[in-house]
């Protein structure tokens, strides 16, 4: 049970970094929800389809809560949700393109969702009370996502050589970028930690994340990705958006996420 969060006034630098972190999480969860939703009727089994529907609903619920917090930090939330171009999104690069097949989606579920959860766990007991007051509920809902991703990754890993082989490529493609996404050990990250907004950054988050996914990677045998580099390459990394690529998600997905065709139905 975390101790009550002290109330703090954030320095301008910590405030900016807090705002950017919330937007990164909100955008990533909105994208991930859409990626799950794309499989609601396409998963290999009805149970998996229903799980994708439930996880999509959770991720969009989390995104809605997180976007709402940005009003306090000076953002025009309506513009953030409905008025940005793809290049303005701050979502995980792993979510930029739709998963091509079910193993792709399983890797997102098991590894990308786990990276978001590792970042959210670092907000437990946050000195920024609005985050502290919401993160427990988010993490509680994430427990099922982790169990689902792990179960499917194990299932594919144990289903024989050809099924295991389908995991090698998406895993090898995803893991280095996810480790990099957790960010550098920079002054900006240190300011966020010292303000008590997060309880870990950079290398410490990477260690937590690797510990979380180690049991999964151990089962993959010859599909396991090569050992991740101890220190990611941060060349060209935009710390505010947590991305190297200056593009964002594909335009068609962003149009759906913005609700371009639904604007006429938006009510106050």
């Amino acid at each position: 049970m975390p101790a009550p969060a002290p109330t703090i006034e954030l320095s301008p630098a910590a405030r900016t970094a807090t705002r950017d972190l919330i937007l990164v999480l909100a955008d990533s969860k909105r994208l991930l929800g859409m990626r799950y939703a794309e499989w609601i009727l396409g998963a290999p089994e009805l149970e998996a389809s229903i799980a994708c529907a439930a996880m999509a609903q959770d991720e969009w619920g989390h995104a809605r809560l997180l976007y709402a917090l940005l009003k306090d930090l000076g953002d025009d939330v309506d513009r953030l949700e409905h008025g940005r171009e793809p290049a303005e999104y701050c979502s995980l690069e792993a979510l930029d393109l739709p998963p091509q097949d079910w193993p792709d989606l399983v890797v997102l579920n098991a590894l990308a969702d786990a990276a978001l959860t590792t970042q959210c766990e670092a907000l437990l007991g946050s000195a920024y009370a609005p985050l502290a007051q919401r993160v427990e509920k988010l993490l509680e809902e994430e427990r099922f996502h982790a169990a689902h991703g792990a179960a499917w990754l194990r299932r594919l890993a144990r289903a024989g050589e050809s099924a295991r082989g389908t995991l090698a490529l998406p895993l090898t493609a995803a893991l280095p970028a996810l480790l990099r996404w957790l960010g550098p050990d920079s002054p900006r990250a240190a300011a966020l930690r010292e303000a008590g907004v997060v309880n870990a950054t950079g290398s410490a988050l990477r260690a937590r994340y690797l510990e979380r996914i180690a049991p999964l990677l151990a089962e993959l045998g010859d599909a396991a990705p090569p050992r991740a580099p101890a220190a990611p390459d941060f060349a060209g990394f935009d710390e505010a958006r947590r991305r190297v690529s200056t593009h964002g998600p594909d335009a068609a997905t962003v149009a759906r996420i913005r609700g371009d065709k639904n604007r006429v139905f938006l009510m106050d």
């Binding site: 109330t7 609903q57 991720e59 709402a68 940005l70 609005p130 427990e136 809902e141 106050d268």
Partner: protein, 141 residues
């Protein structure tokens, strides 16, 4: 969710200073922010909300444990309301049903609803009555 649903309220000023004791259960006469109100004045408000049903379950929002506190200051009532899930598709309905029912109480002219997520809702927050009703419908509770 998303487009078509009004934006949620952000954090409220009182959230910045208040971390509820996690063990606390909603109770009559929950701490009044803006004045002293006796439990007997709040009692009718809790009873009114026992008439507001969850849109998906045959249980009231009180018995489901969604109401964390009610405060009254004259004609103004404040409610701390949570939801079973962050992606609850019925948030707007529940909010409006709570508001509408309280506005029918004598002397209530303004209802302010605070959306709270701390402590997180779990099944343990249901009342015995809520559990009994759900079980009678064959829903695990």
């Amino acid at each position: 969710m998303g487009p078509g649903v009004p934006a949620l309220e952000g954090a409220r000023p009182h959230e910045r200073v208040l971390r509820r004791d996690r063990a606390s259960q909603p109770r009559l006469g929950a701490e009044a922010a803006g004045g002293s109100v006796s439990p007997t004045q709040l009692h009718p408000l809790w009873n009114a909300l026992r008439e507001v049903r969850d849109p998906e379950l045959p249980v009231s929002v009180v018995d489901l444990g969604l109401i964390y506190a009610i405060r009254r200051d004259g004609a103004r009532v404040e409610v701390d309301l949570t939801f079973t899930a962050t992606g609850c598709p019925c948030m707007a309905f529940i909010r409006e049903d709570v508001r509408g029912r309280l506005l029918r109480e004598p002397g209530v002219h303004e209802v302010v609803i605070h959306e709270v997520w701390d402590p997180p809702w779990t099944r343990e927050r249901m009342t015995e009555e809520g559990r009994r009703v759900l079980r009678s419908y064959g829903i695990a509770a």
